[in-house]
């Protein structure tokens, strides 16, 4: 075999190993979801069964945790997206000399271990609510939303910054020239431009919040989210119901990815149509100009 062929074979082997490493555990877990053994195992495989899927729905703690995770996720979106947007807008306008320090502060939660964010949030709010006698604020959901938002807002800010860099400032000037106030420029011109970024930031914020464990496990206090319930179950020993849950998650995301691909294709097609119309118009326009000119 040629050296090139050897290299390609080696590379193929490497890729195969890599993805085996990546998917292996999940495949194994997937198998256990359908195995009727009470303890999750792939070998020996008894009878195929779907009962673990049913067990998920009837598991109160899991369902409760799921509901709490959903609530926290939505609240985090409501906090992190506007805060991230504000952060990006301020970043564009701040003094050049202050910019480095500002960036350091707002990006630091991304580089801080999640547990520290959870711990510091709990300590701070325990003190604050004590001193100001606002104990009703000191609960798992509020603290988790605040703790998670500190770094999720930074993710959102980075998304908005990337989108804002492509913003054509002359559009805002044109709107002003036509009589719009600052607020109208923001609402009519900037926000519609940012819509794709708002959507991706919201999705990212929700997912990042939903799957978070390190920060949540400290800040959630007496409540539980799906991840803390799962962690508890896994450590105590569990039925393959959890494997079934994993399989469901994968199925959902594959469906989501397919739906996204379909929408993307449709948007692409629409763009191509528009460009074709423009080219037609160009051609028609030059005709009389050529004849008259």
């Amino acid at each position: 075999m040629t050296p090139d062929g050897v290299r390609r074979a080696l590379f193929g082997f490497y890729v195969a190993l890599f993805f085996a490493y990546l998917f292996g555990p999940l495949a194994v877990m997937g198998v256990t979801a359908f195995n009727d053994s009470a303890y999750p195992q792939a070998i020996p495989f008894g009878h195929a069964t779907l009962r673990w899927f049913g067990e998920i729905a009837s598991d109160d703690e899991l369902v409760q945790g799921f509901a709490t995770s959903l609530r926290i996720g939505m609240l985090v979106v409501l906090v992190a997206v506007p805060v991230g947007l504000a952060g990006a807008l301020v970043m564009q306008q701040i003094h050049a000399r202050a910019r480095a320090l500002y960036y350091l502060i707002v990006v630091s939660p991304v580089l801080t271990p999640g547990v520290i964010i959870g711990i510091s949030t709990v300590i701070f709010w325990r003190d604050l609510t004590g001193v100001t006698h606002t104990r009703f604020l000191y609960n798992g959901v509020t603290l988790t939303v605040l703790g998670q938002s500190s770094f999720i807002s930074a993710y959102c800010m980075l998304i908005f910054l990337a989108r804002l860099q492509r913003f054509d400032g002359s559009l805002a000037e044109a709107a002003r020239d036509l009589g719009a106030s600052r607020g109208q420029v923001f609402a009519h011109i900037l926000l519609p431009f940012l819509r794709p970024a708002v959507l991706s930031a919201a999705v990212l914020a929700f997912l990042a919040s939903f799957e978070n464990y390190n920060t949540t496990t400290f800040s959630i206090l007496a409540d539980k989210t799906l991840t803390t319930v799962l962690a508890g179950r896994v450590r105590q020993g569990t039925t393959p119901a959890l494997s079934a849950l994993a399989v469901m998650i994968v199925a959902l995301t594959v469906a989501g990815a397919l739906a996204y691909e379909v929408l993307r294709r449709r948007a692409d097609r629409r763009q191509r149509e528009e460009r074709r119309t423009a080219r037609e118009a160009e051609r028609r326009e030059l005709q009389p100009a050529l004849e008259a000119g």
Binding site: Y14, V15, Y21, L22, F23, P25, V28, M29, Y39, Q41, I43, P44, P82, V83, A86, G87, L89, V90, Q93, H95, A100, Y102, I105, V106, P109, L111, T112, P113, G114, V115, I117, I119, S120, I123, F124, D127, T132, L146, G147, S149, S150, R182, F186, E211, Y213, N214, L226, T227, L230, A231, V234, R235, L242, S243, A246, I249, V250, T253, V254, A257
Partner: protein
């Protein structure tokens, strides 16, 4: 010094600073148009309040609170704020010497756990780097668009599953009656099940696995912007493949490498779920020890001190990476 002197004012500090920002924004007269005029009063206020609350209430002041708590002794709630509540180094002394007063013996248990955590995290980071680099390079430079999209999808798919469930999956494989042991026994390679979990083999495998995505994406993004022609030019001039990587690709991809390594190290050192699930009864990982200070020993000041030590370590690591690679912070955070 009595902590009660400083303590009650700390939480109200952020509100004062935000009010200060707002005033500054109103009075700022740079380049002919103040901040408030440029954005309109409503939006200007929204910007100042949102960013001010974020920076202070959510980021800076909680860290200061935690730091402050780490310097206070463990006291029952009634004694807090009282005469015994003074600033002290006893928690840090405990980390080093195993006792708040006696400095004769080292706290071998915790210090060893700390050292193992750091060293193992560094090794795992390097392992992940070596593992992901070839694939990232291939995806960035050689793969065709259709195959690229497929690869991206395949890479992201496993990470949709929660890290806890993924650690659980490894547990299924590594358990005494799990897949690996069953297969090895069946093949006759071993006669007794190997205790992967207790020997930390499972833990290290799980940790290397957990953060592959966060290593490969910064690498891919960085290498992707390298113009392919540079590599072709080097090959045209006769450079062998290892020189191309060493002299051209790696220096160019430095920000991505630094970014990936920083993220993976931090997540490893700060990992909580994976060690709790995949670690054996005797395995030592620092972050679960921090967790236990709070929820097993119920010693919050001690836990705060340990958390701060972890934070310092991560900061030190980030600074070391920045210094070694001669990059700035903005360049590593994508």
């Amino acid at each position: 010094m009595r902590s009660a002197v400083l303590h009650p004012w700390l939480p109200l500090l952020p509100l004062l600073v935000i009010a200060g920002f707002w005033l500054a924004a109103r009075l700022d007269r740079r380049r002919g148009e103040s901040f408030m005029r440029r954005n309109g009063l409503l939006i200007g206020t929204y910007l100042v309040v949102a960013v001010g609350v974020w920076m202070l209430v959510m980021i800076v002041v909680p860290q200061i609170s935690m730091l402050e708590l780490s310097f206070r002794p463990k006291l029952p709630p009634v004694a807090m704020g009282g005469p015994r509540d003074v600033y002290t180094l006893e928690n840090y002394r405990y980390f080093l010497f195993g006792s708040t007063t006696d400095t004769s013996h080292w706290n071998v248990l915790h210090l060893r756990a700390f050292a193992i955590t750091i060293v193992a995290s560094i090794l795992i980071t390097l392992f992940d780097l070596a593992l992901c680099y070839p694939l990232a390079f291939h995806m960035a430079q050689s793969a065709r668009p259709a195959r690229l999209r497929l690869l991206l999808l395949l890479l992201i798919a496993p990470y949709w599953v929660n890290e806890i469930l993924r650690a659980f999956a490894w547990r299924i494989i590594f358990a005494a009656s799990g897949l690996l042991n069953t297969a090895l026994l069946a093949l006759g390679l071993i006669s007794q099940p190997i205790d992967f979990l207790g020997q930390d083999a499972a833990l290290y495998t799980g940790l290397s696995y957990a953060y592959l995505l966060l290593m490969i994406f910064p690498l891919y993004n960085a290498i992707e912007t390298l113009p392919h022609e540079q590599i072709e030019a080097a090959r045209d001039l006769g450079a062998p493949w290892w020189r191309i990587h060493r002299d051209i690709v790696v220096p160019f991809a430095k920000p991505g490498i630094a970014s990936g390594c920083t993220l993976v190290f931090m997540l490893c050192a700060g990992a909580l779920a994976t060690p709790q699930i995949l670690g054996g009864p005797r395995s030592l990982w620092f972050t679960p020890i921090v967790y236990d200070r709070f929820y097993q020993a119920f010693n919050w000041p001690l836990g705060a001190a340990y958390a701060f030590i972890l934070l310092l370590t991560c900061v030190a690591f980030v600074l070391a990476v920045l210094r070694l690679s001669r990059l700035s912070l903005g360049e590593i955070t994508r």
